[in-house]
């Protein structure tokens, strides 16, 4: 076919040392888009756990939600913990802004504060597990409680690893006012983890 004539002029060149630069057909950067789509996927993982929560608490409807066997959820401590985690989102945002304005000192301080706040949250959460007095093996409500908070805890851990790397790199002098994608992408993940916690806290502890 005549259209093939076009390709006839296209000669295979083995000495070519790389692909031609790809056309950028969207304003969104690939890494950012990938992270956003990945977060959709993550939301669905939580969705499945919330489905379990819904079925066991609402559909099966046996007995009342906590306190079970006299053991209640520590709403107040978890509430304080929630505040800690949310404030870490603000410090992270502050750090990013500082970086964009070129203030490296504030950027580093913000990253350290964010990391410490996140670590505190995780520590309090583990402490809660130790003292809460029931196990996931005891009853389905315990299973759901540990399932949801544990899933979220795993996400906090992953987020902390990412933030930790960003923090270390911040001290090594990486990133700049122009080159801050490496902070933004883990940052989006961290904000997602925070927002998810608000949902978990509301449904599991408060409602």
């Amino acid at each position: 076919m005549e259209a093939a004539a076009i390709s006839a002029s296209h000669v295979h060149d083995d000495h070519h040392h790389g692909p031609p630069p790809a056309n950028r057909s969207s304003r969104v950067e690939p890494a950012l888009l990938g992270m956003l789509l990945f977060i959709i996927s993550e939301i669905m993982v939580f969705g499945a756990f919330f489905t379990a929560y819904f079925f066991i608490r609402v559909v099966a409807d046996e007995g009342t939600w906590f306190p079970v066997d006299g053991k209640d959820l520590p709403k107040l401590i978890a509430g304080v913990n929630t505040a800690i985690l949310i404030s870490s989102s603000f410090t992270l945002h502050w750090a990013e802004n500082a970086l964009k304005l070129g203030n490296r000192r504030a950027f580093r301080a913000g990253m350290v504060a964010t990391f410490l706040l996140g670590a505190t949250f995780l520590f309090v959460q583990i402490n809660e597990y130790v003292h809460i007095g029931f196990s996931p093996q005891d009853h389905a409500y315990g299973t759901v409680f540990y399932g949801l908070t544990g899933l979220h805890g795993a996400h906090v851990t992953i987020g902390l690893v990412l933030l930790g790397m960003v923090t270390i790199r911040a001290f090594r002098g990486h990133f700049s006012a122009e080159e801050h994608r490496g902070v933004e992408v883990p940052g989006i993940y961290w904000h997602f983890v925070d927002v998810m916690w608000i949902v978990v806290y509301t449904t599991v502890y408060i409602l």
Binding site: A4, N23, G34, A48, A52, F55, I56
Partner: protein, 609 residues
Amino acid sequence: MSVKLRNPGWYRAGLYVVLAAVLAFGLSWAVRAAYGHDTYAHFLDAESIVIIGMIALPLAFLVGIGCFDYWFYWASGRPTRPEDHSGHGAHSWRDYFRPNTDHKVIGIQYTVTSFFFLFVGGLMAMLMRAELAQPGRQFVDASTFNGLFSVHASVLIFLFIIPVFAGLANFVLPLMIGAPDMGSFASGWTAYAPLSTTAPDGQVFFTIGVQFAGASSIATALNFLVTIITMRAPGMSFFRMPLLAWANFSTSLLVVIATPFIAASQFFVLLDWALGFNFFNAAKGGDVLMYQHVFWFYSHPAVYIMMLPGFGIISEVLAVKARKPIFGYRMMAFSLLAIVVLGFTVWAHHMFVSGMQAWIRIPMMVTTAIIAVPTGIKIFSWLATLWRGVLHLDTPMLFALGFLTMFTLGGISGVMLAMVPLDIHVSDTYFIVAHIHYVLFGGSLFTIFAGVYYWFPKMTGRMYDERLGRIHFWSTLIFFNATFAPMHLIGVQGMPRRVADYADQFAGWNLAISLASFALGLSTLVFAYNMIASWRGGARASANPWRALTLEWQVSSPPPVFNFDQVPTVVGGPYEYGVPGAVHGIFGPAKPAEVKATPAGTHAEPVRE
């Protein structure tokens, strides 16, 4: 040697697996010791070995072989070595057995590995049919039989249909949309070829296998989405994309949204089984039906994950082989999206007799029936595409036409199953077996065959043997129907599925089905021979043997290592057959005047009005 151990590849993968084994088992031993367990007695118990082994070792293998290097480099701020293309392209057949970074090589690795599993899954079906040829017990006992049909299904779904579509798309899609390679978002996608060699066996293997298969298919889907959204050639607007790109776009959306649910459902099973959680333990307040809801919320969209890429392939093949534009292109694209949306609203139609709340059955029945509308739009549009075309009835086209008719049957039995009163009687019978095979064999597999024959010249640079291809098609079509059509009847008559033995009244039909299924099995050997022999010694294929307009046919066969020297510019729709002077894409800067000088073809005079 130490360089080999430090650089990504098989050697480092081996080393990491050994390290991970030592570390994981050591850790589990230390934790048990810390909690005062009788560590020496339980150190080597099967459960801990299975679970730790299944989780830690594949991960270590993937890290070792270099799947996550890109991420580690990126996260630690070191240069991500985008310029290193030493692992790119295949120069001899041995290169297909190495980790590779070329989307085309990965596509072929994927496709070939998947076909290996087609034969594995097919052999299992043969064994089952041998057992079912007569009532009573002949070759395998009940436990083996249960294992056979479970593994038959999971192998063909997770290791054949889903990855083979991913493989074909991996090869074709970047070429089609004018991208030099798949998206650079995650290099993790090199992972799947070795991953798919971990065939799931047994419940735990299945559970953990699904986690890995799920994770890798999400990674693939993210890659497709990122590639399609951000790397299209200039001028390639969404409505100039070939429908295969649309189909993979829709499929990837489904994967990203639905797959987490099956991962979670298998995670629940694992927690219940290994750690004594109570997700499904009714005695402690768990909910058994919840598993089915979560499972089907993934697994029904999964049916469309196994169908939509096939729709894309058929659109490509039909337009080219009928020499006509796809009828109603926009409706074809929108109906794909409609199926994606509706696909999430129908899951409970698998649960009409499960004892769930009765009222849910009614909305699920309606949505399930309605999903036939966008599917119908596609069928009718394909029929209209054929009308007044110039039909080239070679092997890919024959399989496409076979798909049209067989899939229609599967769709019709699907609508019947959506109707609750009938479903109550036929669910869990051979009627279901017949339906899924008309959809997955007559539907998905026929499109896969069509696609493989269609792109074989592009992938290998050789032509397949047309005569053998036709023999393959006709034997497949005849014996496929002889095998699965009678299952409708014995299902309605009351033969339950998943049984190694059955009442004497079904003996005659089952013998006939078994004989037909053996012939069907033999017909795939024709295909295997054709593929291998043609790849080795077939006639050389020209760049564009089908006179197709889409971009992958505008480069040499097989395509150059980096696809294009220069990214093409898209100046028109992908299926403008019969439009004088129409071109889809041009290489080099756009020169409309020059383009007009190359007519794409002249009208056929209608043969008969």
